[in-house]
């Protein structure tokens, strides 16, 4: 029986971005175990992040025929990642303009 997940109060930007980026790179749905390796957090924390991101429509789960659960980035997740990347890019260029 899966234990009840405690909701994330303040998700770490780095972990969310890491998950978004890893899924963004994959053209196909990605195995949860592989994504957990990429997230560099333990499985419990990873599940809380996945749950948090699923609740917000950033990722969606997909059950495969082989019985493994896979994760996929939603268009909203893609947009969120693009926005984060563009944000930091704008700030860097604004800071270093003419440098």
């Amino acid at each position: 029986m899966p234990t009840e997940l405690e909701p994330l109060d303040r998700p770490d930007l780095y972990v969310v971005a890491r998950l978004l980026e890893r899924l963004w790179r994959e053209e196909k749905p990605m195995l949860k175990t592989r994504l957990q390796v990429a997230s560099n957090v333990n499985y419990d924390v990873f599940r809380r992040y996945v749950s948090w991101m699923t609740d917000r429509g950033l990722v969606m789960a997909e059950n495969s025929a082989d019985g493994h659960e896979r994760l996929l980035l939603t268009p909203k997740g893609q947009e969120a990642y693009r926005k984060l990347v563009q944000w930091i890019n704008e700030v860097i260029h604004e800071r270093t303009r003419g440098a």
Binding site: L13, E21, R25, L58, Y81, R82, Q86, N89, I92
Partner: protein, 613 residues
């Protein structure tokens, strides 16, 4: 390791080694060694005049001339004996122009004069630069006289054989390079597309003109210079001056590359993006892009609106290391101007090769996505951020390294100065109780101990403060290069490891340090100011030395005046330096203050955004 993969990575699907715009460094080193060895060997054997002795008889109202051409650096010694007591003559040393004036019976100027007669004899020895010399024995008397004349000239390095040897060696090196390419032992990767070789060919024609120009200018100076000035305008002045003119022209030449559609801003933004994808260091400036080709060469790419579209042109540029080589050559005028000239022409060729093989194909690739489309593409934006971070890290690394090397040289010079000061002080201080060899030994030991102590202390301090900074920036550059490599190539991705986003965000925290390090790049951030300080310092040295000499000979008013002017100039240099330092400190403080807390703000803004999704 991502970093190590990047360092052995590929550009445009080809090996990093052996790009067409890159040179075969082994061959260049061998060519330079061959030129140096060949020039010395040929100069010593063909241009030297081993000891000769002859009896010279000069008829009344006539002269006998002896021509010596070294066109470089030599040792010359001549002597004359045996003139009769009543001989009425003299020996003059002339350059070619004044010799022709003498031959025509016109007034002339000389560089050396010695009277013959009264049974006189004399010896003259010269070490150093000598272009052409006419030694003329003139008989002003009414009866002939004879002298025994002996001379010996050893030419160490002559410019005359250096030119043909350089051409021959580079022709051989080029042939060997082509042969290696045809054999397949040196790989030249294919360009992105097939382009006609017009740019490179046109550049070769320009370089031929720039090579021939100094020769023509030397002859023009020779013809146009008045006789009175020709003493000052020997080949040692006219050749470097002609090379300098050729260098200045090469630095300012702009070459048309391609006519394309689109606004100049979009064309440059597209080009910058494409070059960054190929992991070139691209620095966008106000009106052009500066792209680093190698450790010394760079290229400026400009776009200008014309009636039919946008014209893209290029101009040679250099990295700070390249500029150091060029400026050293220019400042050491006589000795190393040919080096600066060769570096400039070589950079010009590399810029043309780069424009031909790397820039034109990238501008012909279709379709070129619009700037707005690229903004919407997360990958393109990531590449842009990583490339910008990598550029800033690389420039910061170069600045810190350059300052480190400058400080190293300054420490050695300071140690030499301390040695001199301590040696002088101990020499005078020991006058009461030491003499002879003991006094010399004590002087040297005191000077050496003081200077070595200072040098070792300074170098340890320098290494301990700079090496960690260099290592840190290098590690960051590696991280950014690794991430950029991952974004620009199709490779199997590891599941673990930091994301590119993390690398960019983390590097953002380092930016103030990098910008600060870059702004301390000194001479090459504000070359005008630093060269002004250099020239004034050089003037101070001359004035102070002359002032001390005059004071030593008891000429107090003149000595005091020169010394006073030198001191005023010391104050000027010091004030300029303090102003520069204050400006740097203010800029650093502004940057640090502005950046302080900025990272945390940005991070919380992003987290707030994610929470609100």
């Amino acid at each position: 390791m991502i970093g190590s993969r990047a360092s052995s990575g590929v550009r445009d699907g080809a090996s990093v080694l052996g790009w067409p715009e890159r040179s075969n460094r082994t061959l260049i080193v061998l060519a330079v060694v061959a030129i140096l060895v060949g020039t010395v060997a040929l100069s010593m054997t063909m241009f030297s005049v081993p000891h000769r002795a002859e009896t010279i008889t000069v008829e009344p109202r006539s002269y006998h001339s002896l021509y010596l051409g070294a066109y470089g650096f030599c040792r010359l010694e001549y002597s004359h004996t045996g003139a009769s007591y009543f001989a009425e003559g003299y020996i003059v040393e002339l350059d070619r122009k004044n010799f022709e004036l003498l031959a025509d019976g016109k007034p002339y100027d000389y560089t050396g004069y010695e009277a013959i007669g009264m049974g006189g004899q004399g010896t003259m020895t010269t070490h150093g630069a000598l272009w052409e010399l006419f030694i003329v024995v003139v008989n002003e008397g009414s009866s002939p006289f004879s002298i025994e004349f002996e001379y010996d000239m050893t030419v160490y390095v002559s410019y005359l054989p250096a030119g043909p040897i350089a051409l021959a060696v580079f022709a051989c090196a080029y042939a060997v390079d082509r042969w290696m390419v045809s054999r397949g032992s040196r790989e030249i990767p294919p360009a992105l597309g097939t382009v006609p070789l017009t740019t490179k060919r046109r550049m070769i024609q320009v370089i031929v003109v720039l090579v021939l120009m100094p020769v023509a200018l030397v002859y023009a100076f020779e013809i146009l210079t008045p006789g009175s000035l020709s003493l000052w305008m020997s080949g040692f002045i006219t050749l470097p001056l002609s090379l300098l003119i050729s260098i200045v022209i090469a630095l300012f030449l702009r070459f048309k590359l391609l006519l394309v559609q689109g606004s100049p801003e979009d064309v440059l933004a597209d080009l910058a993006h494409r070059l960054r994808v190929s992991r070139y260091l691209v620095a966008p400036r106000r009106s052009y892009l500066s792209v680093q080709i190698s450790s010394t060469a760079a290229i400026k790419l400009r776009a200008k609106r014309v009636p039919d579209g946008t014209l893209v042109s290029f101009q040679m540029d250099a990295t700070p290391t390249g500029w150091v080589l060029i400026f050293i050559g220019i400042f050491l005028f006589v000795f190393f101007m040919p080096l600066a000239w060769a570096v400039v022409l070589f950079t010009l060729y590399r810029a043309a090769a780069f424009a031909q093989v790397r820039v034109i194909p990238r501008m012909s690739q279709m379709p070129i996505p619009s700037f707005q489309q690229r903004e919407a593409d997360a990958k393109a934006v990531l590449i842009d951020s990583l490339a910008e971070g990598r550029r800033l890290a690389s420039e910061a690394y170069d600045s810190v390294k350059s300052n480190y090397e400058d400080s190293f040289i300054i420490s050695v010079l300071a140690a030499m100065l301390v040695f001199a000061v301590l040696a002088v002080v101990s020499w005078f201080a020991s006058s009461q109780f030491l003499e002879g060899p003991e006094r010399i030994v004590v002087t040297i030991v005191v000077g050496a101990v003081g200077s070595v102590y200072l040098l070792v202390f300074q170098l340890i301090r320098l290494v301990m403060t700079t090496k960690p900074v260099l290592a840190e920036i290098k590690a960051w550059r590696g991280r950014l290069e690794g991430a950029l490599f991952r974004e620009t190539t199709v490779v199997g991705l590891a599941d673990s490891g930091p994301s590119s986003f993390e690398v960019v965000l983390d590097s953002y925290r380092e930016l103030p340090k990098w910008l600060k390090a870059r702004s301390k790049g000194g001479a090459f951030r504000q070359p005008g100011l630093w060269f002004l300080m250099f020239f004034i310092s050089y003037g101070i040295y001359g004035l102070a030395l002359y002032g001390v000499f005059q004071l030593g000979t008891g000429n107090l008013p003149v000595g005091g005046l020169f010394f006073g002017v030198a001191m005023v100039l010391v104050y000027v240099v010091f004030a300029l330096y303090l102003r520069w330092k204050r400006q740097q400190d203010e800029e650093s403080k502004t940057v640090s203050d502005e950046w302080s807390g900025r990272y945390e703000t940005l991070r919380s803004e992003m987290e707030a955004y994610l929470r609100g999704v």
